[in-house]
């Protein structure tokens, strides 16, 4: 089959499809409802209070009631005990103890040479004999 024959067959098939669709269109055109413009208000979006809007409205009212109840029952500030407030100088952070790490006292002092706290010498080190130089005659 040549390319021309293939094209012809394709055209024929497409014409056949078009003819089928045209027949379908003719049949469906007989059952088209009457044109109405302006359209009646009953169409989905035109309804003033559709189901969706009703649900959205109910949700808004429920949210407002919940917000009002929350504002009514939840105190906005912690209750005051009547005790005087400590001054800033006396105030201590509740997490201050976390700064007290093990061995922190060592960092607070300057180490001294010769004094080693907690160290005891086992034996005295031998004293070195002074070297005397012999002068040859």
């Amino acid at each position: 089959m040549t390319r021309n024959d293939q094209d012809n067959e394709r055209d024929f098939r497409e014409r056949e499809l078009r003819a089928r669709f045209a027949e379908l269109r003719r049949e469906e055109e007989l059952r088209v409802p009457q044109f109405a413009f302006p359209p009646s208000r009953w169409a989905g979006q035109g309804r003033p209070w559709g189901t969706g809007r009703l649900i959205a409205g109910a949700a808004c009212v429920a949210a407002l009631v919940a917000a009002a109840l929350l504002l009514r029952f939840v105190p906005s500030q912690p209750a005051r005990t009547g005790q005087p407030v400590a001054s800033l100088m006396e105030w201590k952070s509740p997490t201050d103890f976390l700064l007290e790490t093990p061995g922190r006292e060592l960092l607070r002092s300057v180490p001294a040479i010769g004094v080693w706290p907690g160290y005891t010498a086992v034996s005295k080190p031998k004293q070195k004999q002074p070297v005397t130089k012999q002068v040859r005659p």
């Binding site: 027949e23 469906e28 059952r31 409802p33």
Partner: protein, 173 residues
Amino acid sequence: MRQTDFQGELEGLHAASFGWALWCCEQRREEAEEVLQTAYLKVMEGAARFDGRSSLRTWFFGVIRRTAGERRRRRWVRDQLLVRWFTREPASVPVPDPEAQASGSQSSRELRKALAALPARQQQVLHLVFYQDLTVEEASRVLNVSLGTARTHFARGKAQLRNLLARHHEEIA
């Protein structure tokens, strides 16, 4: 365009618009009527404005497609979230109008049946090109897809539709 001219143009398009609405609503006649009414309402209230960038037919078919999509989504939300939660029953799946399905010639019934077996996008492109006599480019504008995508859907849909019709003929023979 004056309001009366516009109205006249829409009236001229009415049969074609209903055919397209029917296709967007999977052949459910009642739903297609409501979709078309809502599309007219959108035009009348100014929610959809024709800016003249495409033909009136292409633009209005786009409005119908979007309206049908919105309606489908609303129905889905209603069915899935409300009906299923409150009644614990499976959501009702709307079926095509049986009267419309049974009506018409043998050839039309075959065509409807074969088209129903295709993916929705292929059905829509074939409908716009063969039924509405639009070009593939115009169909791509109605469906809001690229021209390449529309061409692919058209070629695949056409090939598949031919196969389905041929198979149906073989079964009869």
